[in-house]
């Protein structure tokens, strides 16, 4: 008996996960959605593997709040671990049920039968029946029991193969996104955003708006939520731009540049939590260092978009948000409909890398659809709306404190963190959808909340080092009163925590004149962590690393994501003059059993590139009108000419369960760059992004 997983306990019925369809395919349901990470291909592989199907006999149904399983949000690299494990068990169980039924039909013993491409073979020869001939005799409304054992790794033929992404062909030839969906009689919509919760619209000159739009735009107003609706997308966009310019608000949010800094965050009143071991009783020789990072934007390449239709008392919403069951609950609660009256369907959008404007745009579209029934409403955010109103990733400060023994090795560790929350997804910790604040009765104030460490942690994620140190703890100063919405961005707190922990470790190694890799290995007993560290060092030819201090550097970073998921070690080579240039990155990853090796490499490469961008370039700024970085000129990200050579290798770890990989390399990459820059300069830059000013300041110090 295999233990039922998290997702199966919530969705025990087999038919939520698996259905035989008349066209000789099998529909596999998942609550996890495709964000560009290739998850649907990997889940299809798992299903096809267990059912002995070809991959083209599987149809994925993802993010369907009506018929599919509910699995919360597609987040924290859980999809393969949760949905993959559920699909694997369900598929194995249905295969066993089908095999038993076929054996009866064929008057054979079950062990005489095998399955190939969905057809039953009796002693290796065609039996004339397949899954679909007996599907009607199977009761898939039954609950999963875990009675059928999934295949052992040695029997895998599809799992472990780099099956090409199922969604890529469409995307290379011109379609495939929610932005491209067209429904009959569909209207376009854009919004005027309430500039901060509590802002009240005093005046809106509709004549100016109509003139700029060329007329014919409908204006839908619900308290402080306003939308412009019409058949011509160009006109509704012009209307929204005009409205943003001419609207007069009371109590609009105003920000100061200082509020965007980690120093401001760290100076605010905080809700303090201690996690891990108790504080040390004896004073030891203690070393500490402080590291910071700014607010970051998700920077999705497309503004958020949603389509909604209210017809016959049912509100149907198509969205690229990360969870359709949570979205249904959040929309139903906000607009006052019963759950049965709301249906949410996932359609792919641009990569989001966490909680961006997707959920909020879905509510926006729903509000307009409720006001204008019987017509599909396609509502898209403007670029500046996405930058200005999506949740940010919080600025953070981290001070790492290490107590040392006589040999200069750490024997006590504290990671002290100042941050706003990284968990403000709608419905989590009392958080709401954006436009809920514009309604007559805005939602109640939230209480201080961040994702608990047992669910991976938010700001505290990866705050406990992997190393054998003795007592280790996190002191989290959670800042509640920040004037912008903050939530999850790929890696959450792990990016800065790993940057800080690994930075201090290099400094500690330097104090006793030891090589950073040797220093780490001396305090690292986890064999899987040692293996990726040694592998990355070997890939980078670490043993020939030079003395440093002359403008070229080689640095290393290591973490196990969430201290429970994939291991990643990264080595970065940099050249530093007026700017930091990353020339090469080597990365070794232990992802457990690899479902789709090339898909994993693709995710890790992307995570490395994004982390280079965070570490060297990105920074949200504030101004009197709120968030001031509203386009790609004021919020630059990495470009093609800044991309290093990146080599990623997976270590063979098929004996371990599969682990999510999309976020594992970000922290180690930031750390490796930080350490490489310190190696190149002979002095450390503690603050992200490592800009020209910071390089100059470090060199002057």
């Amino acid at each position: 008996m295999t233990a039922l997983t998290f997702s199966l306990k919530d969705n025990p019925r087999l038919d939520r996960w698996l259905r035989f369809q008349d066209d000789h395919t099998v529909r596999i349901g998942t609550g996890k959605v495709e964000l560009g990470q290739g998850v649907l291909t990997a889940l299809a592989q798992i299903a096809a593997e267990e059912l002995d199907l070809r991959i083209d006999q599987v149809r994925m149904m993802s993010g369907n709040s009506v018929e599919g399983p509910g699995e919360g949000y597609t987040a924290s690299s859980w999809s393969i671990e949760h949905s993959g494990a559920a699909i694997r068990l369900v598929a194995a169980e249905v295969r066993a049920l089908a095999l038993a039924r076929a054996a009866l039909r064929l008057n054979a013993a079950p062990d005489e039968l095998t399955v190939a491409d969905g057809a039953f073979l009796k002693n290796g020869s065609p039996s004339g029946i397949d899954y679909w001939s007996i599907a009607g005799e199977l009761d898939l409304s039954a609950e999963a029991t875990g009675a059928a054992a999934p295949k052992p790794q040695s029997a895998h033929r599809l799992v472990g193969r780099s099956v090409p992404r199922l969604d890529l062909p469409t995307k290379l030839t011109g379609a495939g996104f929610i932005q491209d969906m067209v429904l009959p009689r569909m209207l376009h919509a854009r919004t005027l955003r309430q500039p901060g919760p509590g802002a009240a619209l005093l005046q809106l000159d509709e004549k100016i708006i109509q003139r700029r739009a060329g007329g014919g735009v409908r204006i839908v107003r619900l308290n402080n939520f306003v939308a412009f609706v019409g058949t011509d997308e160009t006109a509704v966009r012009a209307a929204a731009v005009a409205a943003t310019e001419c609207a007069v608000w009371d109590n609009a949010l105003s920000l100061s540049p200082e509020q965007a800094t980690p120093d401001w965050i760290a100076s605010q009143p905080s809700d303090d939590r201690l996690m891990g071991d108790p504080p040390p009783e004896l004073a030891t020789d203690r070393i500490c260092a402080r590291f910071t990072r700014p607010f970051l934007s998700h920077g999705s390449i497309a503004p958020s978009c949603a389509i909604a239709l209210y017809r016959d008392g049912v509100l149907t919403v198509w969205s690229h948000a990360q969870g359709m069951h949570p979205l249904r609950e959040n929309i139903a609660r906000t607009v006052g409909l019963s759950l049965d009256a709301v249906a949410c369907h996932h359609v792919q959008g641009a990569g989001c890398y966490g909680h961006n404007g997707a959920d909020d745009a879905a509510l926006d579209a729903a509000l307009v659809a409720l006001a204008l029934p019987d017509q599909p409403i396609r509502l898209m955010w403007r670029r500046e709306e996405e930058f200005g109103y999506e949740p940010l990733s919080s600025a953070m400060a981290v001070t790492v404190h290490a107590g040392l023994d006589g040999a200069g090795r750490p024997i006590d560790w504290t990671t002290e963190i100042w941050s706003a929350t990284h968990g403000q997804r709608p419905g989590v910790g009392g958080a709401s959808l954006l436009a809920a604040h514009a309604m007559k009765t805005p939602p109640p104030d939230r209480k201080p909340f961040d994702i608990p460490l047992e669910r991976g942690g938010g700001a505290a994620r990866n705050g406990i080092p992997l190393y054998d140190i003795g007592p280790k703890r996190i002191e989290l100063h959670l800042i509640h009163d920040v004037p912008v919405r903050t939530s999850s961005l790929r890696g959450l707190g792990a990016t800065l925590n790993v940057f800080a922990i690994e930075g201090l470790l290099d400094d500690l190694a330097g104090r006793i004149g030891e090589d950073p890799v040797a220093y780490r290995l001396a305090i690292l007993s986890d064999p899987r962590a040692r293996r990726v560290l040694e592998k990355a060092a070997a890939m980078a030819n670490w043993s020939s690393r030079e003395a440093g201090g002359a403008g070229s550097g080689l640095g290393i970073g290591l973490a196990r994501y969430k201290n429970s998921s994939a291991y990643a070690a990264v080595v970065a080579a940099v050249e530093v003059d007026e700017a930091v240039r990353v020339t090469d990155v080597w990365c070794a990853v232990d992802a457990g059993l690899a479902i789709n090796p090339d898909g994993i490499l693709n995710q890790i490469e992307g995570n490395i590139v994004q982390a280079i961008s965070w570490t060297l370039i990105e920074e949200v700024r504030f101004g009197p009108q709120g968030i001031a970085t509203l386009d790609w000129e004021s919020y630059p990200v990495i470009r093609f000419s800044e991309i290093p050579e990146i080599r990623v290798e997976l270590v063979e770890a098929g004996e371990y369960p599969p682990l999510g990989v999309g976020e594992c390399a970000g922290g180690p990459t930031a750390a490796a760059i930080g350490n490489a820059v310190a190696h190149a300069l002979g002095t450390r830059i503690h603050d992200m992004p490592m800009t020209r000013d910071r390089i100059m300041k470090a060199l002057m110090a």
Binding site: V182, I301, N602, Q603, E605, F640, S641
Partner: protein, 159 residues
């Protein structure tokens, strides 16, 4: 005020009755149903909307249709032939060069125009050519490999 504009798009001549100020991108997507060119920023900063205008890669998000009468436009839908994908599209598939894929139309278009001028480029030359195109997923290493591969494949076909 609507006016009639004549435009050749992917080999077909269209008479379009739209305002002269309508952006080319909106016309392609909403009047001609060609959804491959994408709205990313509307500011000529991200490259997701790029198309070929008389063979030259150009932003379409802010380009007014009134400036384009009589011109020839190629979108990502027009890259392939009836029989096969364009070698660039095939190379992107071969290299699995993409994650979310939203930026790919613009990148394919720019790469096409670039390889037409420079059939045997280095990685650095391709990177420089694509520098106006943003990819947020970090698919850059694969995209660079795919364009190199397409260039080699196209040279192979000519030889």
């Amino acid at each position: 005020m609507n006016e009639c504009h004549t435009l050749t798009v992917n080999g077909h001549v269209h008479e379009l009755d739209v305002p002269s100020t309508a952006p080319l991108l909106d016309v392609l997507r909403n009047h001609l149903g060609l959804k491959g060119s994408r709205y990313g920023c509307g500011l000529e900063q991200c490259g997701a909307c790029m198309v070929l205008i008389d063979g030259v890669a150009a932003y379409s998000c802010s380009r007014e249709i009134g400036t384009l009468s009589g011109r020839t436009i190629t979108t990502v839908e027009g890259l392939r032939s009836a029989e096969a994908l364009h070698p660039l599209q095939q190379a992107f598939l071969d290299e699995q060069a993409g994650q979310c894929g939203y930026c790919l139309s613009g990148i394919l278009i720019v790469a096409k125009a670039f390889l037409d001028r420079n059939p045997d480029p280095t990685r650095a030359e391709i990177a420089a050519a694509l520098d106006a195109n943003l990819c947020r997923c970090g698919s850059h290493p694969r995209i660079l490999r795919a364009v190199l591969k397409a260039a080699a494949d196209m040279r192979g076909k000519m030889a």
